[in-house]
Structures are given as structure tokens and as C-alpha cells.
């Protein structure tokens, strides 16, 4: 406990905060540059809100653009260290709101960004100065959060598909043959197998190797190389760079001063301990961040198939799924007609919906309500979805009938190896 309360040089946290703020600004800029604001919030006529957040809706035009512009400004404030805590809190809340609108927009690194923002809002503000200091627990809090991502990502790789079938890496690396020089080697199945095992070992070990003084330098270099490779090979946006920036907190707290050869501050003998409420909050945070990824036990192939516990668990890049869903409506006269998901959903929404059983069900409910709203009278919606996962032949994922007026569902979910 004394180690956690000890004052440390805040320089590494300051650099982390500035780099993270800039990355969040880049993230916002990407939303504008790629047209994602319209594509994700204005084009769909159906959204997939998170349970309990069905009331969350995107702002009408042009306010989503204004919302993102405000997020960009807040990110810059975080980067500059101006009003850091309220800015981080508002950015985190605003960014979380954006992702509560639609589950198909979920990405692990967006979730991580939200968590880091909240931690920045909780932690005492860090500034550089001759007498500045930060309690060591703040550094350890960020280390814990970033380390948890790696560790649980490694834990999620302890399953048959990843270790024995080298999937989905084999699927993905087969498309890396265009990479100059290394392409043909990358596309070999043996490479996928080697990468799978190396990736698992790396994820599980790197937080601990970063904590150990003797292995820290080599671990950090490996981490940067690892994320650089994944950034080149896979379309995973800012994820690699967020992780590299996050890993900066594992370096000695005063590393930026050593790097820039600036004077080391005189640290106070002690800092006031966090208030009891904050201690409870931090304890709960740590417990939740351990419990949530473990809530469904060890990752099994069946879980990847059914998407059970897929979110907030750091199951990063462990499943490649492609689905195909078909919806038909039947009225009381017995007339049956097909409903095209593409009439309501964007291609991205349709892609993600088709392999997630709960989204298929939600969309069936949406269709039933939509048809009733259009005066179609009582209708019955049938949803059938097939999906392939990690190179396994496609199997039936969902076959349900949704009956008006209570929209009760009868579903039949087959396993990944078929019935």
C-alpha cells in the first residue's frame, strides 16, 4: 500500500495523456474524413441499441456532426492538459453515447478509449513542473487497465481455433500475400500457426515483461514491432497505436525527463491518500475489469459462435464470422413475402447483424413493429441465419419465428460444428 501512495514523477502520465488525447483527436477526425457520422448515425433506419439503452438515439442532423466536433475539441483539451478531468469525463461520456446508439459499432479499442477517458477523469491531474508529483497508484491504475487488455486477449486465445487450427489468422494472412517481400511467407499456413502461438504468448506475457526492469526494454520494443506489424497486415484502425501509447505507462515514471534530459523534480515526501469513496471506486473498477472478461468462464468455440460474452471481454481478433440472414413475413391471410435487410440497414450493420444471434432477433422484432406501424396488421416474422466462423463450413445460426402481438421468439441455435 505504501508503494501505491508514494509520490512519483508524473512525466510518463503527462506524455501518455497528451499522446492519448491526440489519438482521440485523430479518431474523431477519421469519423469526419471517412463519412462515418452520416453512415453510422443518419443513414440507417434501424439501430441496435444496447439492452437498457433503447432510448438512446442519434442527434438529428447536423447535431451529430456538432457532437463529434465537440469531441474533437475535448480531445485536444485532454492532449493539452487543459481542464483535463472535465474534458476527459465529457469526452468519455460523449464517446460512450455515440456507441450506445448501435451495437454494430462496437470495437474493443473504442471501449478501451472510453475506459481510459474515465480513468483520466478519476485520476488526479498531472502536470509537469519543478514540484509536480503524482501518486504511484495512478500509474499502476493505467498499467492495470492496459495490462488487462493484453492478458485477457491472450486468455481468449487459449482455445482450439486459435491454437490448433491457426484460425482466424490463417484466413487473414492468406490475404497478405501482396505484402512486399514477406507476402508469400505470411500466406503460408505454417506462418499462421506460428503467429497464433506467438500472439497468444505475447499477449499473456507482455504486461509482466514490461513490469520487470530487466525485460522492459526488449518487451517494449517487441510490443511496438508487434503492433506495427498488425497495423500493416490488418485493417484495425487506431487500435495498435492506442496500445503502443497505453504501453508507455509501463516505462519508468520519469522516462520522458531522461529522454529529453530535463531536470528531475524534487518529489514530496508524501501525498495525501485518496478519499475513501475514491478507494471504493478504484477497488470496484479493478474487480469489475477482472470479473467482466471472466463472466462466461474460459473462452470456448461455442461462445465465439453464439457471441456469448463477446463484448467487453478483450476477445480481440479471435473470430472471423460471415453470416447470411433471411427474413420473411407472413400475414393472417397466409401471404408470405421476403423482407430485405438492406432496405433498413447499412451494409456494415447487415454484415454484423447476420452473424450475431441477438441482433438477428432484434432486427426481426424491428421488422414486426415496422410492418405493424405501416398497417400490415398482425404479422409473423421468420428469421433464418447461416454463418461461417473461422474457416468452418457455414451452419444454421438462427431459425426463429416471431409472432405478433407479443413478439415472443422461438429460436434454435446450432453449434459451430453443426447439429
Amino acid at each position: 500500500m505504501r508503494r501505491l501512495l508514494a509520490p512519483v514523477d508524473p512525466a510518463s502520465l503527462v506524455v501518455f495523456r497528451a499522446a492519448f488525447g491526440l489519438l482521440m483527436f485523430v479518431l474523431v477526425v477519421r469519423y469526419f474524413a471517412h463519412g462515418w457520422i452520416d453512415a453510422q448515425f443518419h443513414e440507417p433506419s434501424c439501430f441496435f441499441p444496447w439492452p437498457g439503452f433503447e432510448w438512446v438515439r442519434p442527434w438529428p442532423r447536423p447535431w451529430m456532426h456538432v457532437h463529434f466536433a465537440a469531441l474533437g475539441a475535448l480531445a485536444l483539451l485532454v492532449a493539452a492538459g487543459l481542464c483535463t478531468r472535465p474534458a476527459a469525463l465529457l469526452f468519455g461520456a460523449g464517446f460512450t453515447y455515440v456507441h450506445l446508439v448501435d451495437r454494430t459499432n462496437y470495437l474493443n479499442h473504442y471501449y478501451l478509449a472510453g475506459l481510459l477517458c474515465l480513468l483520466l477523469a478519476i485520476a488526479p491531474p498531472c502536470r509537469l513542473g519543478p514540484r509536480s508529483a503524482a501518486p504511484a497508484w495512478t500509474v499502476w491504475l493505467f498499467r492495470f487497465q492496459v495490462g488487462a487488455v493484453y492478458f485477457f486477449a491472450g486468455l481468449a486465445k487459449l482455445q482450439e481455433d486459435w491454437l490448433l487450427r491457426a484460425q482466424p489468422l490463417r484466413l487473414w494472412l492468406a490475404h497478405a500475400a501482396d505484402v512486399p517481400l514477406a507476402g508469400p511467407l505470411l500466406a503460408r499456413p505454417e506462418t499462421a500457426a506460428a503467429f497464433s502461438w506467438a500472439g497468444m504468448l505475447f499477449d499473456m506475457a507482455v504486461p509482466f515483461l514490461l513490469l520487470c526492469r530487466r525485460t522492459r526494454a526488449i518487451a517494449f520494443a517487441a510490443l511496438v514491432a508487434f503492433h506495427a506489424v498488425t497495423a500493416v497486415l490488418f485493417p484495425i484502425g487506431l487500435f495498435p497505436w492506442i496500445m503502443v501509447v497505453g504501453a508507455l505507462v509501463f516505462l519508468p515514471p520519469g522516462w520522458p525527463r531522461a529522454w529529453f534530459r530535463s531536470p528531475v523534480p524534487a518529489l514530496p515526501a508524501a501525498l495525501p491518500p485518496p478519499r475513501p469513496a475514491l478507494r471504493v471506486l478504484l477497488g470496484a473498477w479493478v474487480l469489475l475489469q477482472v470479473a467482466i472478461p471472466l463472466r462466461h468462464g474460459p473462452v470456448r468455440t461455442e461462445q465465439l459462435w453464439s457471441e456469448e460474452g463477446a463484448h467487453f471481454s478483450w476477445r480481440i481478433m479471435v473470430a472471423e464470422k460471415t453470416g447470411h440472414a433471411r427474413f420473411t413475413a407472413r400475414d393472417r391471410a397466409g401471404r408470405i413475402w421476403e423482407l430485405r435487410a438492406g432496405d433498413y440497414l447499412t451494409p456494415v450493420q447487415e454484415h454484423f447483424m447476420a452473424f450475431q444471434p441477438d441482433l438477428v432477433r432484434d432486427f426481426a422484432r424491428f421488422l414486426a413493429r415496422d410492418l405493424r406501424g405501416k398497417g400490415a396488421g398482425p404479422v409473423e416474422i421468420r428469421a433464418e441465419a447461416w454463418a461461417t466462423m473461422n474457416g468452418r463450413p457455414a451452419r444454421r445460426l438462427v431459425d426463429l419465428v416471431l409472432r405478433d402481438p407479443d413478439f415472443s421468439t422461438f429460436s434454435d441455435i446450432a453449434g459451430p460444428r453443426g447439429s
Binding site: Q167, R170, G183, T328, R330, D343, H351
Partner: protein, 329 residues
């Protein structure tokens, strides 16, 4: 948005993927499947024109059947400039405007290239010619003149399509192989679905699952009695892209590398669909009335094949499906 017209290159020049599997697949498909298919169709269209000009009605029927088969084999690969320029609609449009053709045969107006070009898609192309040679048996001079004019128009369009694909013609820009693969896989899925729905389910009265009396008038290639062959040949055109040319690479090479377990289900579902369609006891217009269960079997097999393409093939090719086969109504 990626313009489909640039895909060709992708296929024809494909400079971006030199040495890569995707690049090799696209080059082989372009040079070994797509271009030869268009050359063959242009050749068959010329033979049809010659038969219309100089041959007997029986010659015209035979030549039409050969051209139709050739076009069916092209269908799955229509991702190039011919689609952007709507040239494929000039060749294959359904239903036929039979009344318009009768009017043209009865009128005395000019039937030159410009007049034919101005006709709607339903009054020209393969199906209009089929209507004339199989339904009308054009022996009267005016009908024969119309047949020749339509055949010349078809030949001109076929040659235009072929030329768009010839190496060094068309000035195609480079397209990333990923975009080309996306278009090809999407097209294969669309054609599989359209063939199942338009050629089997809708004539059977099963539109979107609805059960209604059979509608023989919706059967394609009905006048020629080649409705069953149209289904089978279209499926073979899809599979040609999957398998690639003899000695060359097709999409199956990518499946074999990325997810070999997916290859057998795709091939098996194709064989099942082809076998069920080939085994229809009679042309589709008779089967939907006399053997509806067999048509439903074939339809189910085609749907399963389409599902394999939309999931297994799309996954192995990392394709995002985004195309619907036709507008809803």
C-alpha cells in the same frame, strides 16, 4: 465508390498484385475465363447473325441456342464495363415485348441499326430473337428482316463487350485486387440467388415464400424449351469462376489457402444444385405444373449453393456482401 468499369483491369492488367495469389487468380480469371467467354459469345452472336441472314429457321434456332448457352456462361462474370454501360441489358432482358415485335413485323418502318438501337431492351437481344425464331418462325420477308436486324444489333453489342475486355483496349485504370474480388463474389451470389428466384421460384408461384398458382409466363427461355439448361449453364458459369481455367487459378485457390475446409461444401452444394436442376423431369414451364416438388428441390439446392457462396466463399475471400439481386416490389 469504386466504379465497376475499372474492374476489368483489375482483371486484365492487375499490375498491383504481381506475384501474389490474388493477382494470379484475377489474371487467370481474366485471361482464362472472362475474356474467352466474351470472345466465345461474340463468335456465337456472329454465327447467329449469319444463320439469320443466310440459314434456315432451324439453323437460326441452333445458332440461338449456342449463343444463349455462351451468354449464360458469361452471366456470373458480368462485373466489367458492360454492366456500367448497360450493355448486358441490351442482350438479355425479360420479359420480351412480344406485342412490340409483332408491331414491328407488321409495320413498314426502317429496321436499320439506329432504329433497332432505339428499341427498348425488351424488344431486342437474345430473348427477342428467341421469340422470333421459336414462336414466330420468321419466313415472311419483313419478319426475316427484323430477325436479321436484331441479330446484327446483338452481334454489334457482343463485339463491343468483347472489345472492352481485350488486352490493351478500353484504357482501364488499375483497381485493387480486393475490390475486384469483392465485385466478383458479390456478382456470383447475386446470380445464384437470381437464378433460384427468377428461373424457378417465381414461375412456381413461390415469390418470397408466397404460395400461389404456377405462372408459366414467367419461365425464361420458354419458347426454346431451354429453361432447364439456362439454370444449369448459369450455375456452371459461377463455378467456372470458382474453379478457374484449366491449368489456371480460380477463387478456389484462395479458399484452399485461407480455409481449406470450406472447399468441399462449396463444391458439393454446386454439384447438388446442378444435379437437381439437370434432373428436372421436363422444361421448367412443364415441371412447375407437373412436378412442383422437383422444382422446389432444385430451388432449395440453388438457395443452399447461394448461401455457401454468401458465407463460405465470402468469408474465405474476405468479401462484404452489399448487392441485392433486384429491386423489391
Amino acid at each position: 465508390m469504386i466504379r465497376r468499369s475499372w474492374v476489368l483491369v483489375l482483371l486484365a492488367s492487375c499490375g498491383g498484385g504481381e506475384g501474389s495469389l490474388k493477382g494470379a487468380i484475377l489474371r487467370d480469371l481474366a485471361s482464362g475465363v472472362l475474356l474467352p467467354a466474351r470472345r466465345d459469345f461474340a463468335e456465337k452472336a456472329s454465327e447467329l447473325r449469319r444463320a439469320a441472314e443466310e440459314g434456315s429457321p432451324e439453323d437460326a434456332r441452333r445458332a440461338w441456342a449456342a449463343a444463349r448457352r455462351s451468354w449464360n456462361l458469361c452471366q456470373a462474370g458480368l462485373v466489367g464495363p458492360e454492366s456500367d454501360r448497360l450493355l448486358d441489358a441490351k442482350i438479355d432482358s425479360f420479359p420480351v415485348q412480344a406485342a412490340r415485335l409483332s408491331d414491328l413485323a407488321a409495320e413498314s418502318g426502317p429496321l436499320g441499326p439506329d432504329a433497332i438501337e432505339r428499341l427498348g431492351a425488351g424488344a431486342k437481344g437474345l430473348r427477342a430473337i428467341e421469340h422470333l425464331v421459336f414462336t414466330e418462325s420468321p419466313v415472311a420477308s419483313r419478319e426475316r428482316e427484323l430477325l436479321v436486324a436484331l441479330s446484327r444489333n446483338l452481334e454489334a453489342v457482343a463485339v463491343e463487350i468483347r472489345d472492352l475486355w481485350e488486352p490493351g483496349r478500353g484504357g482501364f485504370a488499375a483497381t485493387p485486387p480486393e475490390a475486384a474480388l469483392d465485385l466478383l463474389v458479390n456478382r456470383m451470389v447475386v446470380i445464384a440467388e437470381a437464378t433460384a428466384d427468377l428461373n424457378l421460384a417465381w414461375p412456381l408461384g413461390r415469390r418470397g415464400g408466397e404460395t400461389a398458382p404456377p405462372r408459366p409466363e414467367l419461365v425464361r427461355s420458354r419458347p426454346s424449351g431451354r429453361s432447364r439448361e439456362e439454370v444449369v449453364e448459369t450455375l456452371e458459369g459461377i463455378m467456372a469462376l470458382y474453379e478457374g481455367p484449366p491449368g489456371g487459378l480460380g477463387l478456389s485457390a484462395l479458399v484452399a489457402r485461407a480455409a481449406p475446409d470450406l472447399d468441399a461444401p462449396i463444391r458439393e452444394s454446386f454439384e447438388r444444385a446442378r444435379a437437381r436442376a439437370s434432373a428436372l423431369p421436363a422444361p421448367v414451364d412443364r415441371s412447375i405444373v407437373e412436378h412442383p416438388a422437383a422444382v422446389m428441390d432444385a430451388f432449395a439446392a440453388l438457395k443452399e449453393f447461394k448461401m455457401r457462396l454468401a458465407t463460405d466463399l465470402a468469408s474465405a475471400c474476405r468479401t462484404t456482401l452489399r448487392v441485392s439481386p433486384f429491386d423489391g416490389d
